[in-house]
Amino acid sequence: MTSDNDVRAAVAAGVVGSGDAYRELLAAIVEVARSIFGAKASSILLLDEDTEELVFEAVVGEGEGDLLGMRFPAGHGIAGWVLATRTPLVIEDVRSDPRFATDVAEGTGYVPSGLMAAPLLHEERALGVLEVLDRPEQSAFSLAEMDLLGLFANQAAIAVDLLLRARQAERLLDGRDDELASVARLASIVAELQDERREAGIRLLGELADTLGGKR
């Protein structure tokens, strides 16, 4: 193996499976956001730049089962406005207008009576939108909550950026070298092993490398 390939294998080992980990991170962020605001639901929508659609990437609470992976045009609705203007927005007391939050309503029949939405901004790009649906009606919204929403959105934007990088790296690796992807999978499996099994795995890989490539 050349040193260049060593680097690629190491990169691949880091990339394979990391998309799942970042997706779990997004799920954890919406779970905490929902809990902190005492809301009925929370979700993260990502912009698919190729199709100009917003895709539900993480959902917790109402609509959880139906919305994940669902898409809708990014040019409409409140999420679309927040994405395009890169500006957070809080709307309450909507009182059952199905045209409101059509993204959620069309997918589930669940029509929220209020939502908070903030853009996921990373450097100069708007990557998606964080939504928190139906906060408790008795708690009046304040600017402190807007700040908190912004903090969550910043955290989510970092996770989304990592997820997008991981996906891009996975695509690159898949496209460039299937064999390398196999090596990466192997490295990833060994990295997950514990104690003796991990030691045995590393020893086995070392012997495999010696057998295939000769001692260096």
């Binding site: 912009l47 409409h76 409140i78 406005w81 890169r86 500006t87 207008d97 901004l121 912004g150």
Partner: protein, 280 residues
């Protein structure tokens, strides 16, 4: 050299100076009182004669809280990336523009409101469309331009800066939302713009001057009852709702004192702010 060019060449160059015998040419049409008060600034004003433009998601002109629109256009890019400005037949695609228009109408009931929709048809060119929309608004000579949106894209900053300055020099007051999140965005950061953040008070005419810019004023932006699409109303929060409050107050000031420049309007806002002397 063509005849026209020859004529141009004979004209004296515009010198940015003031000879002694020309001082009379720049006499101000009115003197301000020793203490500028809200009564002097906009007492009895309704916004009549003032054209306010809402650069946003469109406006539902059939909404009873908005009333008749002066005009409604949509700005978009065609397949060859050319700017297209056409009559807007779709109205508001999100609700936000209608909310802003309703806030302006409530405070300045007799002003004229026009809609320029820069949102809704795809997002890849949104910075370009925003720029084109603002350019169109400046060209149309609106007295007040309400922009509850901004862009984080640095390549657009210089062009937006030029446009904001053009608006300022041709007497269009550009009122823009400050960002709710700690990010660099434009055009609200430019000093030729009146930038607005939110406060939590309930009075729509309460606004504060901020002695620590870049945000210069705080308007009512929390739990605002506002018009929404479908003839509905919602309770809305965000700097984007504080902005039309201040835009409407600018419209009132200009309807009573149409001679004021954007610099002077900003001065009047300062002097009548709730944390400055003239608020009584």
């Amino acid at each position: 050299m063509t005849t026209h060019a020859a004529e141009e060449a004979r004209k004296p160059l515009q010198a940015w100076s003031l000879p002694k015998d020309a001082v009379g040419n720049i006499a101000l049409p009115s003197r301000w009182p020793e203490q500028v008060t809200r009564e002097w600034a906009w007492g009895g004003a309704t916004g009549k004669g003032i054209r306010v433009c809402i650069l946003d998601s469109g406006i539902d002109g059939a909404h009873p809280l908005v009333g008749e629109l002066e005009s409604a256009v949509t700005v978009s890019l065609d397949e060859d990336e050319n700017i297209v400005v056409e009559e807007d037949t779709e109205g508001d695609l999100a609700g936000h523009g209608t909310a802003c228009a309703g806030i302006v109408r409530a405070l300045a009931p007799e002003c004229s409101i026009a809609s320029i929709r820069v949102l809704g048809k795809g997002f890849t060119g949104s910075g370009t469309v925003l720029l084109a929309g603002l350019r169109y608004a400046v060209e149309q000579g609106f007295h007040v331009i309400n922009m509850s949106l901004s862009t984080t894209k640095k390549p657009f900053a210089a062009a937006l800066h030029d446009l904001a300055d053009n608006a300022y020099f041709q007497r269009s007051v550009l009122v823009a939302s400050a960002h709710n999140m700690p990010v660099e965005s434009y055009p609200w950061r430019f000093s030729s713009v009146i930038s607005v953040g939110s406060h939590e008070e309930e009075d729509p005419f309460t606004f504060f001057y901020n002695p620590s810019p870049p945000v210069e004023f705080f308007g009512r932006g929390v739990r605002v009852r506002a018009a929404w699409i479908g003839g509905k109303s919602v309770t809305a929060s965000g700097n984007s709702f504080a902005t039309p409050h201040v835009a409407a107050i600018c419209a009132l000031i200009l309807s009573k004192h149409p001679e004021l420049t954007p610099f002077q309007v900003k001065n009047v806002l300062y002097l009548t702010a709730s944390n400055v002397g003239g608020a009584e």
